[in-house]
């Protein structure tokens, strides 16, 4: 799904200026690619939050710049609360691009087996035409029995898409519930010293 994003061309550069920009409710961004010059942009914080919430990868830029771009990278602050920068790559609708998409599970596993669902791979990288990038990849887990697993090669991809992540990677599997691990296991009181042998050998010599 393509989303519209209103952007403003940004003159201010450098961490101090960008910090001031963030304080006014804007997120700094950069547009690059297709052999054209890099353009610094600023986007409203609310628009960025909505874009990330919807999970869209392809954006149509309006305002100072009119172009189509791919959301290449999102930089978060330490606590993962605020977006601090966006990377936008110029892209044409017919171009084939590499994107990482979140995996969403659909359905309920078979309760008869008494298994526990292990969601191993939350993101899959695929190569597909820019016009047909989905927001997420859906994996059907309904009726999955104990011991069964779904690999990347079994995930249904959009038309014209090929997986970049290895096909043998497990996306989801049903495993036997882990037993209690509250028991205290006997372990060494003090760790072994890596240099102990070396020191002993030197002492003997």
């Amino acid at each position: 799904m393509i989303e519209t994003l209103e952007v403003v061309k940004r003159e201010a550069q450098g961490s101090w200026n960008v910090g001031k920009l963030r304080a006014t409710g804007y997120v700094p961004a950069i547009l690059y690619g297709h052999g054209e010059e890099n353009i610094c942009l600023s986007i409203r914080k609310e628009a960025v939050a909505a874009l990330i919430k919807h999970g869209s990868k392809l954006v149509s830029l309006t305002g100072s710049i009119k172009d189509t771009a791919l959301l290449r990278e999102v930089q978060w602050d330490t606590f993962g609360s605020n977006v601090i920068h966006l990377d936008l790559a110029r892209v044409s609708q017919s171009e084939t691009v590499e994107v990482t998409l979140p995996v969403q599970l659909h359905g309920e596993i078979a309760a008869a087996g008494g298994g526990q669902l292990r969601f191993a791979t939350h993101e899959i990288t695929i190569r597909c035409p820019a016009a047909s990038i989905p927001d997420h990849l859906t994996v059907e887990i309904a009726g999955l029995q104990l011991g069964a697993s779904i690999h990347v090669s079994e995930v249904k991809l959009p038309a014209g898409a090929t997986p970049v992540t290895l096909g043998s990677v497990v996306v989801v599997q049903v495993v036997a519930p882990a037993g209690s691990s509250d028991d205290a296991a006997a372990v060494a009181v003090e760790p072994e010293l890596i240099r102990k042998e070396k020191a002993d050998a030197a002492a003997k010599a």
Partner: protein, 138 residues
């Protein structure tokens, strides 16, 4: 039994300073929910273990708990009623050095409501301020 390294290069370490925020280990990677530290500090191996037990008692059989920190710093102390000097004390316990933003524990295979209750039990054991976080959107 509390966590500790199997092999170490040096038996004793200097105290050090905790500077800045976490730039690694600050994302939820394995599960769907995480417990993130909002302060820096040392977390003892016994505390990590207490947190694990508290969480496992709640999620038993349903979810899976991941511990994202490891106590690799030995803390030494002098025995009681000992005069100063005569060298550094013996290692007493192990701690994990935690910077603000570090994800301490993660939970997978549980609902958000269950994770909230589980992390509330776990947070009560922690010596620093923590909060529950979700996986960041891709």
């Amino acid at each position: 039994m509390a966590l500790m390294p199997k092999r170490v290069k040096h038996r004793k370490s200097q105290r050090g300073r905790i500077k800045g925020n976490a730039t690694r280990g600050n994302k939820v990677v394995f599960g769907e929910f995480g417990l993130q530290s909002l302060q820096g500090g040392w977390i003892r191996a016994q505390t990590i273990e207490a947190g694990r037990i508290a969480a496992n008692q709640y999620v038993r059989g349903e979810g899976r708990l991941y511990i994202r920190i490891f106590p690799d710093k030995p803390i030494s102390s002098k025995p009681l009623e000992t005069r100063m000097g005569k060298g550094k004390g013996e290692p007493e316990y192990w701690v994990a050095v935690v910077r603000p933003g570090t994800v301490l524990y993660e939970l997978a295979g549980v609902t958000e409501a269950q994770a909230k209750v589980c992390f509330a039990r776990l947070a009560a054991k922690m010596p620093i301020k923590v909060r529950m976080v979700r996986r960041r959107p891709v």
